[in-house]
Symmetry: C2
Subunit: 337 residues, 2 copies
């Protein structure tokens, strides 16, 4: 039997907490017997929710937490003051080694700050990037960084490239993943100051497969496996992916409802379309890991439903099995020598 993977799940975070969070966590436990879930939050509420489901007692534990950090709260202050919040307590379980990983759909800011302050960075990692998988025509790409480090420096971006390569190779099984830097043109002399400084550094990295610049247009087409950028740009990319996708699907649906003819067509097309569009749904891919910490911290959408929580928890299993943190440490240290 494989080793157990213990995941601290913030039962109180996200728009659909606690019901969808608990549901998703239990689904993950039922699917994989190596998973142990620590549900962190108000004990009485969690207990009541748990009554609805069938699950193995030994796979689920409750850790009581009396406070909740709200999305709008300034994260640094919230982490410092709300010592008995579900986020702080769940992160402490990872810090102490009691849990391997953390999953939350709650405050992004608090997770990012708490991840660094409570769990702590791996030796050598300058700034841990938030790195979600995004859908492409050919499968998925890792967008790194997308929210952790605004106004990053070139050396940070180089680490993102290395960390992203480890992730895509070990978790997503992409051989020799293609690394590209987000730019506004394909030529080497294009870009802003940050990209121009970073480009030659990436070019001279012996241990990544750097293919040069990628224009935003080519990201959905799947031209790269690891898409490197600083957090502001990454955040814009992630959110615009959602925004354009959502608007376009709405337009497609509205378009189908404009005539009787098209309405009949829509009925026929619907099942096939649903299947294809699922591939392009960000929620299918679980949450975004905050990489480079002494433990795995995963942030899922605020609007996460059970499916995303389940996928995020299961992601943690692969993460541990593949010893991603050892590999990241190795790759980062290599650079320092």
């Amino acid at each position: 039997m494989s080793e157990m993977v213990k995941v601290a799940v913030d039962a109180m975070g996200g728009d659909n907490a606690p019901s969808e969070i608990i549901k998703g966590a239990l689904e993950a436990a039922n699917e994989n017997s190596c998973v142990k879930i620590c549900l962190v939050g108000a004990e009485d509420i969690i207990k009541k929710e748990l009554e609805k489901y069938n699950y193995k007692q030994e796979q689920v534990e409750i850790i009581n937490a009396t406070e909740v950090i709200e999305t709008a709260e300034p994260p640094v202050m919230a982490i410092r003051k709300k010592k008995d919040s579900s986020i702080v307590k769940a992160l402490q379980l990872v810090k102490s080694g009691e849990c391997d990983a953390y999953v939350s759909a709650g405050s992004t800011g608090a997770t990012l700050v708490g991840g660094q302050v409570i769990v702590g960075r791996l030796k050598g990692v300058e700034r841990p990037p938030l790195a979600p998988l995004i859908p492409t025509e050919k499968g998925t790409a890792l967008l790194i960084d997308c929210g952790a480090n605004v106004d990053a420096r070139p050396s940070h971006l180089v680490q993102f490239a290395k960390i992203g390569s480890v992730y895509m190779e070990s978790i997503m099984k992409v051989k020799n993943p293609r690394v590209a830097i987000v730019n506004i043109g394909a030529e080497e002399d294009k870009g802003n100051a940050l990209v121009k400084e970073t480009f030659p550094l990436l070019k001279n990295c012996p241990d990544i497969n750097f293919i040069g610049s990628i224009e935003a247009r080519d990201i959905p087409a799947g031209y790269a496996d690891v898409v490197v950028c600083e957090a502001f740009v990454g955040n814009v990319i992630l959110k615009l992916y959602e925004g354009v996708g959502g608007t376009l699907i709405k337009k497609v649906k509205a378009g189908m409802m404009t005539s009787l003819r098209s309405k009949i067509g829509a009925l026929l097309v619907k099942p096939a379309l649903k299947e294809t569009l699922k591939e392009f749904d960000l929620e299918q891919y679980g949450g975004a890991p905050l990489l480079g910490l002494k433990g795995l911290v995963v942030k899922t959408h605020g609007s996460s439903k059970a499916i995303e929580i389940k996928n995020s928890v299961l992601q943690c299993v692969t993460f541990k099995e593949q010893k991603i943190n050892d590999k990241i440490k190795e790759k980062i240290t290599l650079e320092d020598e």
Copy 2:
């Protein structure tokens, strides 16, 4: 009769030059008798193309240019060396006042550099922004800046907000246009250094309708009419719009072809869908104006077809009629006092 609007059209620029460029320019002339086209490029080639069409001789003129600036050429050098290129000669027609406007599907870099160096900035304008219209659920929004000024300063962004307001109010007839700055969160303290510095400046602008930050997700939903950002981010937004849109439409089409049932449905849905998706096609909106110059300079997609050239030329008519440059000068000068 209205005043004539003379537009210098770069007949040699873009993937589909000269045929689609000339076709589109003539369509604009045929549609609006106030338009006069100066086709700039290799005279013999242009003459041959013109033979294919019906048009009024007095609405079309040829200006011979023996050189072409290629997309890959470093723009500053190209503008300096290729004095007899279609881009340089067309821009000079605007500079001399012989033409009111310039339209090119050729090198973006050369148009941006040439626009500033040859045509010149309006008094008070620090950096002329490139500002395309992008489709939203509710109509269109102006994305300003999207390619002219990487590493911009806060004062530039404030000017973009003012210039964009003039444009949306006068050309697109949006009353009291909502101005927002692209950010990675809705709260005032979110963002990178540039956005944090710019935010209070915009808040204190008395002559724009500043509504705060906009997350990339909300741009396609149409939450703002003037979307302010520095050029790197703007370029990413514009190109990702195209990229996600293209990929998703491909997925929808492929999804419809997966079964016999869905294929039949697709036939029924197609006409209605085509109409709706047209609204979301960037090419419907003509090119992107480079605003704040002593004349109108419009850059269209490299892949422009006749429809985009036509729309770009017709855009120039409204631009002149509405005396946009006088309005921009007025708004910018107001700030200096």
